[in-house]
Every structure is written in C-alpha cells, then in structure tokens.
C-alpha cells in the first residue's frame, strides 16, 4: 500500500517522462529507419539513412567536422572565459565588484536573436562599425567577417561568451570560488607560493567538481543548442562551413522534410553527447577532487 501511494505521487513525473522524453526518444530511433516527409505514413528503409549519412562525399562529414571543432573550441573558450571572469570578480580589493558582475552577466540575458542581428551589422563588410574602425587604422582590404570560412568559424566560437550558458557558468564559478577556504591561500602565501601557483594548486582542485559540471553542461549545450546562435547569425553558411549538427537536423526535418534522415542525425547526436559525457566522467577520476 505504501509503495502504491509512492507510485501514485511520482506518476505525474513518470507520465511526463514517458510522453515527452522517453516516448519521443524511442519514436526518433524508430523513425530514423524510415523515409518520411510529414505527408502520409513513414516508409521503412532499414539503415538507408545511416548509409546515406556516412557514404563517401556526404556533406554530413563536413557537418560532423565543424560540430567537433565548434564543440571543442566553444567549450574551452566559454568555460575558460567564465572562469577567468569569475576569478577576476573574486579578486581582492576590487571596488564596484557588483557593477562588474552586472556588466559581465548582462550579455547572457540579451535575447540571442537580437544579439546575432546586432553582430551581423557590426561585422558587415561595407556598413559594419568594426571595418569602419579598421579602415581608420589604415587597413585597405577589410575582412568579410561572416563569409570568409577561416574567419567565421572562429567568430562563432568567440561569440559563445554571449550565450546564456556562459553567463550561467560565471555565476556558478563565482559561488564555487567563494567556497574555497581562505586559510589554504594564507598557508600557501606563507610558504611563498605566488598567485599562479595558488590558482593551479589550490583553486583548480578545489573547484574541480564545478569545473567538471560546467564542462559537461557546456558540451551538451554546445552540441544541442548551438542552433540558437548559428541559425540567426550564419544560417550554417557560407556553404556548410558553420552547419553544426543541431542546425542540420532542423534543416533536414523542417526545411527539406526529410524527417527520417534528420532522426538518424539526432540518434548520432545523442550517441556523441552520451559518449563525450561518459568519457568526461571516466577521465574525471584523475583530476576531480570531491574533498579538499
């Protein structure tokens, strides 16, 4: 009876999970073996979508390559940036630290679409303010920032500092840094350790569980929600240069109506996210300290 009551109370969550998470995941896996254009019934084609994705010359290779590049660098850059800012905010004797916190966090709450359109204007080759300033410095041939493949891939990485999860990470790092016992720093100072050594030997190990948490969430965010940054900023172009897998899934499912193909991509994305998270947790045993 007791167990029955417990099941009754958790049933809304179980129902929600089955209907809105578990069910769609299973449906996505099943649809990945079909051809379906949202008209009529899906037609079973076995592993056809997967062979098409991984065949030689498939554009999916370009998509995967960019996704890997974007994930590695955007995670490194945004986690590094968030940690750097949080460390600055925790520095001694900084006046107006709350004001700095406000300004560091404010880009994270600006809607992404508005932000990307602003950057489209800032980075416009002919009318953009960035090239306007560069021309003052004597640069004759100013870059076409958002269409040069070698440049645009770095721009989308750097702009990650404006995403919501980067702002969120600053707050999490900030609170973690405040929890590091002060006496450890005092003892290190007495022993003659400089700031950098203190950061390396005390701060990093002490906040390593938080670092792991931020890295895992940033990786998953980068893999799955890169869409909100890339779609309005570059739409995946030029060509497929900035087409991340999340963008490609949307494009194939809702713009070319190849739902089965998009589901196969989703299954692959799910596999990549699971594998990367698993590897992070496995390797974390060597560098994450849960007790200081």
């Amino acid at each position: 009876m007791k167990g029955g009551k417990a099941y009754f109370f958790v049933s809304p969550w179980i129902l929600g999970f089955v209907l809105f998470t578990g069910g769609p995941i299973l449906a996505t896996i099943a649809l990945s073996f079909t051809k379906w254009d949202l008209i009529g019934l899906p037609a079973w084609i076995g592993i056809g979508n997967y062979t098409r994705l991984f065949r030689q010359g498939s554009e999916f290779w370009i998509v995967l390559k960019f996704t890997a590049f974007y994930t590695v660098f955007s995670v490194s850059f945004s986690v590094g940036w968030a940690l750097f800012e949080a460390v600055l905010l925790n520095g001694k004797k900084i006046r107006g630290v709350n004001l700095f916190s406000f300004f560091y966090f404010i880009p994270a709450v600006v809607p992404m679409v508005a932000l990307t359109f602003a950057f489209q204007l800032i980075l416009h080759k002919e009318l953009g303010i960035l090239n306007y300033f560069l021309s003052f410095l004597g640069l004759r041939e100013t870059p076409n920032w958002l269409v040069e493949p070698s440049v645009v891939v770095w721009i989308v990485v750097i702009l990650n500092i404006y995403t919501f999860y980067a702002g969120q990470m600053i707050l999490i790092f900030d609170s973690a840094l405040k929890e590091v016992p002060r006496e450890l720093y005092e003892a290190a100072e007495i022993d003659g350790a400089g700031r950098f050594i203190q950061f390396l030997r005390i701060t990093l190990p002490a906040i390593s569980p938080i670092l792991l948490f931020n890295m895992v969430t940033a990786t998953i965010s980068s893999l799955s929600t890169s869409f909100t940054l890339l779609y309005p900023l570059t739409a995946g172009g030029p060509g497929k240069v900035t087409q991340a897998i999340s963008l490609d899934i949307y494009h194939n499912a809702f713009k070319t109506f190849r739902v089965g193909y998009a589901c196969a991509e989703s299954v692959i994305l799910f596999g990549i996210a699971a594998l990367v998270s698993f590897l992070m947790f496995v390797t974390s045993k060597k560098w994450v300290y849960y007790e200081v």
């Binding site: 953009g128 076409n144 269409v147 570059t234 497929k240 713009k255």
Partner: protein
C-alpha cells in the same frame, strides 16, 4: 417526480433550440501574417457581411508555418480555411488534405479562371485540378536610385533592358575613392529567390512543365557573370550572410548602391526613403524575360465540416472588396487581372516608386519556379552559390552540386537533365 422530469426535458429542449436559433458556423483560419488593423481587416469585413459565420483566426509565425500546418493536417487539427505556400500546396494535394475548387469556381458569379494571371492556370495544369486561389502576389524586380542615374547622365532601366545594359551601367555607376569602392553599381543579392530568377533569365527553366528541378548551363553563365561583376570589376558588392534569405544591412537603402534586385514587397519598405528618388523596373533580360512569383493559396481543408462557409470566405477574400482590403493592407497586387488594373496595391512614398507597370509587366512572364520546391533545398543551394561568388568553390562544381542535392532530396525522377 414526473413533473420535475418533464420540466427538465422542456428546459433542455428550450436551451438547445435557443442555442441553435442563434448558432453561428465557426471556421478556423490560419495565416503567417497578423490580421491588418481597421479599416483593412478583411476577416471583420467578411463577418459583418456574413453574420452567420464566425472566423477564428490564428497566426502562425512564418518561420514555422510550413511544418506547423503539416503537423496539424496530419493530426486532423488543421484549420478549415487554409492559406498555403506554393510548395506546401502540392504536398497537401498529394496528402489528400485539400479540396478541389474547380466546381466552386465554375458556380461562382464572382470568379472566373480567365481573370487570373497566367501562372495560376499553369499551376492548375501541373496539379491536374484547381486546389487554391492566390491571396495576392509578389514578384522579383529591380530597384534603382534615380538620383545616381541622373548624376551619371545614364537613362533609366525599363522593360527592354538586357544583361549587357545592366553590366555596362553597373560598371559606370561604381565609384572608387582611394582604391576603395564607395558606391556600388549594384548591391549583393539579398533575397534568395533572386539567384533563381536571374539564372532563369539566362534560359534555365528552374522548374519545368513537369514540375522537375531544372538548372544547368543558364545558371553557370549567370554565376560566371555575377562572379566577374563582384570580383573583377567590383561593380557588385560582396555577398553577405543571409538568414532565412534576408540580409540585415541594405546598401541600396543606405544610398550606397545604384541598383538592387529584390522582392516587390520591398516597395512598402523603401517608400519611406526620403534621401533619394528611386524607382522599379523588370529584371534585365538575357535569353528571356523571367522572374519568380510568390503567393499563398487560399484552400479548403478536405476534412472541414463547414466547406461551404469556407468557400464563402474564400469568395469574399477574392472579391473586389476583399482584394482591395488585402492589397492595400500588404501593398501586394491582386492575381486577378481585372483587380490588378485598379492598382489598389500602389502605395507610393515621396521619392518612389512611380513605374508600377514594372510589376504588371513582370506578372505576365513570371513563373512559380523555385517556390514549388522545398525551401530547404533552395536555401541550401543559395548558400553554395554565395560560396561560389566568394571563390570558395568553382561555378561548374556548384551547379553540379546543386543538381546532386536536388536528386538526393527530391529523387532522381524530379530532376531534369540537360
């Protein structure tokens, strides 16, 4: 007890008859645009004329309109009165989700198929029956800065303009200062449809009579010439990133480009320009005159339980009164020739446009073209065209790439080989 039961039954019958006496037929209607405010609210005007019909309107954002309509149709929850884009109409016909309108039009005292722009009957031939009526139309045209033309002493473009005229003029109107271009002959292509319309002027069918994707030598020739204009003579500005086919900065509007190609709907944006005089012209001709038409089709949900009421609603929106409201509200012309001539859509600004003939002339030769294809395919190809103009991929390769993509997405049977 019997008395109570009798009284209850009486009240029930009375309530029902009361409800039915004042009952209205309710139809649901979806559109990507919000309803225009008074005095152009065509739904309100219809309800006033038809007090027995109530229209429940829902706005679905443009970016997700297509997939939302499909999902709703699939689950049997689509609105009664539909407005479908060209590519969607074909799929809805295939899914059996829309009703043929041939009989309705034949019986209509208001409408006649002879009164529509030629592209409507062309689409009807392609689909076998009439499934939708165009709510208005837009097309792709050329915009030009009259002040810059006057300053250079160059005659304005018009119906007879060729690609050679365009290229010569674009070069003459390009101004360099200190080795840097300060005024472009023509802006980069902003709206994705123009790639297809301009390629079409070089002879490619884009979509042939059987509804197949058809691009090849004409597209190559166009891309080569556009590449030269962009990179060699620098008369055309470098491509900018486009999201959903629209660039966020406009050199023509900024007065820095003498010409631009874009959709006719931009007349309603440019009309607010106060700094320079401007006008419109048909696209220049290479091998033939060509442009792309855009519309949405009023259609009836095959599962609707109020089909006749929906037809009444369509008939009203296609009538002179309904078209006048729609044309004025959205600055788009009517696809009905008799109403097109009345020019309800002409909303002029202080500096332009004046040459409205450009739109009516274009309507005579414009085709549905690329809009009959899935938007994902056409947008993807445009990103590759941009890469070709930037020199990241060769023109020959990009056209072959486009054909391969079309085969993969549409199937080999829907791609015409040259």
């Amino acid at each position: 007890m019997r008395k109570t039961l009798f009284l209850g039954l009486f009240l029930l019958v009375f309530a029902f008859t009361g409800v039915f006496a004042g009952a209205k037929t309710v139809i649901k209607y979806a559109h990507w645009n919000a309803l225009p405010s008074d005095p152009y609210n065509y739904v309100k005007a219809f309800e006033e004329k038809n007090p027995d019909i109530k229209v429940e309107f829902m706005q679905i954002p443009e970016a997700e309109y297509s997939q939302k309509m499909r999902s709703m149709a699939m689950t049997g929850t689509a609105p009664d009165a539909l407005c479908l884009w060209e590519a969607d109409l074909a799929d809805f016909v295939r899914g059996g989700w829309v009703l043929g309108l041939d009989d309705y039009v034949k019986q209509s005292a208001e409408l006649s198929l002879d009164d529509f722009i030629p592209a409507v009957t062309q689409l009807m031939k392609l689909q076998g029956n009439l499934y939708g009526l165009p709510w208005c139309f837009a097309t792709e045209i050329m915009y030009y800065n009259k002040d810059l033309f006057d300053k250079a002493g160059i005659g304005y473009p018009g119906m007879g303009w060729t690609w050679d005229n365009f290229e010569d003029t674009a070069k003459k109107l390009t101004v360099e200062s200190d080795g840097k271009v300060t005024q472009w002959g023509c802006d980069a292509i902003g709206f994705q449809g123009l790639w297809y319309s301009l390629a079409g002027t070089f002879g490619d069918k884009i979509v042939d009579e059987q509804g197949r994707f058809s691009m090849g030598s004409g597209t190559k020739e166009f891309l080569k010439r556009w590449f030269d204009l962009t990179n060699t003579s620098k008369a055309v500005a470098s491509p900018q990133i486009t999201t959903s086919g629209v660039v966020s900065a406009d050199l023509f509007m900024a007065g820095k480009a003498a010409m631009a190609f874009n959709g006719s709907w931009l007349t309603s944006v440019y009309k607010d320009v106060k700094d320079f005089a401007w006008d419109i012209a048909p696209l220049p001709k290479s091998i033939r005159n060509y442009s792309t038409l855009h519309t949405g089709f009023f259609a009836i949900n095959a599962k609707s339980e109020a089909k006749d009421a929906v037809w009444k609603f369509i008939e009203f929106r296609m009538s002179d009164e309904g078209q006048q409201l729609i044309n004025k509200a959205y600055s788009n012309p009517s696809a009905r020739l008799s109403i097109l001539k009345k020019g309800y859509y002409k909303v002029e600004g202080p500096k332009g446009p004046r040459n409205w003939d450009a739109i009516e002339q274009t309507a005579q030769f414009a085709e549905w073209g690329y809009v009959l294809l899935p938007p994902g395919l056409t947008f993807d190809i445009v990103k590759d065209f941009n890469a070709a103009i930037l020199g990241q991929v060769s023109v020959d390769n990009v056209v072959q790439q486009a054909i391969d993509k079309a085969k993969e997405i549409l199937g080999e049977e829907r791609v015409a080989e040259e």
